[in-house]
Each structure stands twice: as C-alpha cells, then as structure tokens.
C-alpha cells in the first residue's frame, strides 16, 4: 500500500480496478470511464460516422458493464475495451454501410516514404538529400500548440488510410507501446511498424507543408 500524493487514484493497476468494478464500486467505474472515454471516442471516429460516434461509445460502455464479470485479465483493460469497441463499431459499420476491414488485411503500400524527387543529390545521386529539409519555425515540440496546428494535425490524421490512422492513434495519440498495439489490432510487429512509419511520415509532411516547406 503506497501513499503517493501525486497519484490520487486508488485503482493504480488493472487488477485493483477490475476487482472494485465487480464489487459494484461506482468510483471505480467513474475512474474507468474518465481514463478511457477519450480513447474510445477517438478510435470510434476512425470507423463510424461522426454522428454516431457517441452512440457507439455508449453501446461499448453498456457492453463493458455486462461483460466485466467475464474479464479474465489476460489482456490489459485498455486493449480489452478497444476490442469491445471495435466489435460495436463493426456491427454499426455494417448497418451504416461503411465497411470495416480487418486490420491484418490492410492493403500493403510499397511506395517510398519520401518523394524520390526530393532525394536526389547533384553529386551523390538518387536516395540522398540534396539539402536538409527546412527547419520548423516556432515551437516544433508543440508545447504551445495553436488551434491552427491542431487542425492541421487532425486533418492529416483523418486523411490517412484507416489502418494507418488506427496505429498512429494508438501509438502516438494514446501513447500505447508497440506490443499493446499489435495485440489490440491483431497485427504483426512488422505490419505495425510499416503502418506507423507511413502514418508519421504523412503527418510530418503535413506539418512541413504547414510550415511552408
């Protein structure tokens, strides 16, 4: 038992949280929702129309309430929630006539990450930068993220193919590690890396364009 002042939650690990949920502890449920509602909405928006995102997320919570007694702790709560959401979204996606491909079946894109025209050094030849990409002005780390840059980022992520969007959302927005992302999506680590690599390169490209590069 620790008394960590910086961490007010009593449900520091999944096991404690699940045990409390099974006891009907409402604070535990509030904590669960507060922690994961944003993730569920962001992921749902990849697969269903914006108008039904909240409905799908609410259906997910209802399914979670029903299923919490069956949660066995073999996966983390967040990957378990993610999978319930994907099932709900898939049901809804069919109804809304939007197809949800299984991630593992995502088409492979073999085109180069950086436009070959940009990697052409006058002496060294193809595949070498002729000059460094222009550095970004302002606050490239985004500590002072303007609403304008936020819109650029969101638009760039929304325009990605769904599997790439899912990977960059889990890895970089949610901060999941590679193994968690592979487990949740049911993809290989090689596939995860390729999808992430392409997604980040595309978002970097959008930022570069925004900076006038």
């Amino acid at each position: 038992m620790t008394t960590d002042v910086a961490s007010p939650s009593t449900f520091d690990d999944d096991r404690a949280l699940v045990a409390a949920l099974r006891e009907g502890d409402e604070d535990a449920f509030r904590e669960l929702v507060a922690r994961h509602h944003g993730m569920l909405r962001r992921v749902a928006s990849i697969w269903v129309d914006e108008r039904v995102v909240d409905e799908v997320v609410q259906e997910t919570w209802t399914a979670v309430i029903t299923a919490i007694h069956r949660f066995e702790g073999r996966s983390s709560i967040k990957t378990w929630l993610f999978r319930i959401l994907v099932n709900q979204a898939r049901k809804r996606g069919t109804r809304e006539r939007r197809s949800i491909p299984f991630s593992a079946a995502a088409p492979r894109d073999e085109s180069p990450i950086v436009d070959p025209d940009r990697l052409l050094h006058p002496e060294l030849g193809p595949n070498y930068w002729p000059a460094a990409p222009a550095t970004w002005e302002g606050d490239p780390e985004g500590r002072l993220l303007s609403s304008e840059i936020r819109s650029v980022l969101i638009a760039a992520i929304e325009s990605l193919p769904p599997a790439q969007r899912e990977v960059i959302t889990l890895r970089d927005v949610e901060g999941w590690d590679a193994a968690e992302t592979c487990t949740a999506m049911g993809i290989s680590s090689a596939n995860q890396r390729v999808l992430l690599h392409r997604a980040r390169a595309a978002v970097r490209g959008a930022m570069e364009e925004h900076h006038g590069g």
Binding site: G24, E26, F29, R30, V33, A34, H37, G38, R41, R42, D54, Q58, W61, T62, I65, T66, P112, I113, V114, P116, L119, H121, P122, E123, L124, G125, P126, N127, Y128, W129, P130, A131, A132, P133, T135, W136, P140, E141, G142, L145, I149, R150, L153, I154, I157, I168, D172, V173, E174, G175, A178, R193, L196, H197, R200, A201, V203, R204, M207, E208
Partner: protein
C-alpha cells in the same frame, strides 16, 4: 546529406562514409525511435546520422511530430462530459441490482 560541394572524385568516398543512403536511413528511423533496431542496423544508422545533417533534421522532425500528435490526447473536446458520465454511472448502478 549536407549541401557542401563535393569534389568530382569524392562522391563514392562520401557514400561510403555515410554507410547507407538517406532513403535507407529514413526506413530505419521508426525502429530507431522505438529503440528496436538490431545490432548492425543501429550502427549503420548511427554512422549515417553522424555524417548527414539532413537526416538529422528529418529525424528531429519525426520526433517532434510524435510529440505534438501526443498532445492531442489531453484535448478537452474528447473528454467525457458530466451528463454522459452521470448517464453511464446510472447504467452501471442499474446493472448491479
């Protein structure tokens, strides 16, 4: 590669000192950021980065991209609102009886 002029006979020498091309270096950067590069590839990318300012800038921008994308997580537009929370807690309570 930096924009310094290259001696007419120096291109091959520079290519060798860079170990791998910029295009190949870029392909290794995602695993580099995840610290998942295996020996060999890690040394090759490190050697390339030591001599290539352009790839250094590109890598910094990838890193900055990861950081700013991560800042979307905390944005309040995605958080649960009070009415939804109350409704969900109510459902949870009803499931207990």
């Amino acid at each position: 590669m930096a924009a310094e002029p290259v001696r007419p006979d120096g291109a091959e020498e520079i290519r060798q000192s860079l170990v791998i091309s910029c295009a190949d270096a870029i392909e290794l950067m995602t695993d580099w950021l995840d610290e998942l590069l295996v020996d060999g590839d890690r040394e090759r990318l490190a050697a390339h980065l030591a001599g290539c300012q352009a790839c250094g800038v590109y890598l910094d921008q990838l890193r900055a991209t990861v950081t700013i994308v991560g800042s979307l997580r905390g944005h309040e537009a995605w958080q649960v609102d009070d009415a939804t929370m109350a409704m969900l807690v109510d459902r949870f309570r009803q499931s207990q009886v």
